[in-house]
Symmetry: C2
DNA sequence: GTCTATAAGGTGATAGAC
DNA sequence: GTCTATCACCTTATAGAC
């Protein structure tokens, strides 16, 4: 159960499915392409996972788990004062997103397409963000941060972190006129820029660093 | 050329195509569905627009034009000092995005799927953002704003504006546990929250309002 | 478990009547 | 211009040999 055979067929299929689904979405993905990617026959996909729909569900859940629990864990793992932890979180989460840059767009697209089905799946994950909310409220109560709705702060942080990665081709096209290197250079500096931008907005001067 | 007959077939097709493509993406859209939506026959789609691909291109360009020039115009139309105009811009742009909430996700999905083809299309639009960049630099030079890379500020504003709309079902599912009303209430307050968040981050105290 | 062959239904596109 | 009928191809899924 714990050991992983690398040329295990089930595993190969899942890896191939992740690649193909995340690149093309459910509607654009082809079972043949997944089979080719896995180096096996199309019939084997159905032997192991019965239908395209079942395979998609597995990939979708994996994608969600890469986004959400990582977010919570990246936050919880930090130590130091609130702003130190926030800065650490932003850095960790940008790293995670940049390693899997297509996952947010994939999830957004699928979940917009069948919101009722997938929104329920998300709700059932029952992600516990109370730790983050309480932490924000504590920093406000301690007078370190100006009052702000914790949900707003959370969503601002996530927006500033994920959106520029999701919108990479648009930013490259519109702002950098197609220059991919320009975008890349730009993103290198974002980690600190995002953290500074947020902290400048919310920190109260009481205990200047 | 200027007059518009409302039950003009060409127009009906385009409106139907916009709805179907933006909802389902290129790969998920069906010509039959577009025909049904337009209340006409499938063959007529090909009579007027030859292929699915041609129809998609038209819809995609319309979508881009709804996002980008609106952004520039919303910015240019404001008056008053920099922060007044910024606040006005954020309000206008959120209004535009909320009226067409599926367009950003549609564009992001398609452009991620065939980045080379569509990134070039974006670059060819040759959107002129120099006005915005210069305006930001002027505010920094005047000492009203702390120094920040104008591109960073632009992308931060756009991220905070668009992302929460694009990620509506995710936010509803994960943060509001499926409660759609919770999301809606939340978004009502975002306009001022976003503007305050940004302005708190960048404004220098020199000329307190 | 893995393959080939094929079924069953869908999809974009066209031909041709009106 | 608009329709029905149909083609040619593609896609998921299964049957059955090995």
């Amino acid at each position: 159960m714990i050991e992983k055979q690398d040329s295990n067929t089930e595993e190969k299929i899942i890896l191939a499915a992740e690649k193909v689904f995340i690149e093309n979405g459910m509607a654009g993905a082809r079972m043949q392409q997944i089979a080719d990617e896995a180096g096996i026959n199309k019939a084997l996909l159905h032997y192991y996972y019965r239908s395209k729909e079942k395979l998609f569900e597995i990939v979708f859940k994996t994608a969600i788990k890469m986004l959400v629990p990582n977010l919570v864990n990246a936050y919880k793992s930090g130590d130091g004062d609130f702003f130190t932890r926030l800065r650490k979180f932003i850095d960790s989460y940008i790293t995670i997103i940049e390693k899997n840059p297509h996952i947010p767009a994939f999830v957004i697209h699928e979940v917009n397409h069948r919101p009722d089905q997938l929104t329920n799946m998300l709700a059932e994950l029952n992600v516990d963000i109370s730790f983050i909310i309480n932490d924000i409220n504590a920093a406000i109560d301690a007078g370190d941060m100006r009052p702000i709705n914790p949900y707003d702060l959370m969503i601002n942080v996530i927006s500033l972190t994920i959106f520029p990665v999701v919108a990479r081709p648009m930013i490259t096209g519109i702002i950098f006129k197609g220059d991919k290197k320009g975008y890349k250079e730009f993103m290198k500096h974002r980690r600190n820029v995002v953290a500074d931008f947020i902290i400048n907005s919310i920190r109260l001067e009481k205990s200047q660093q």
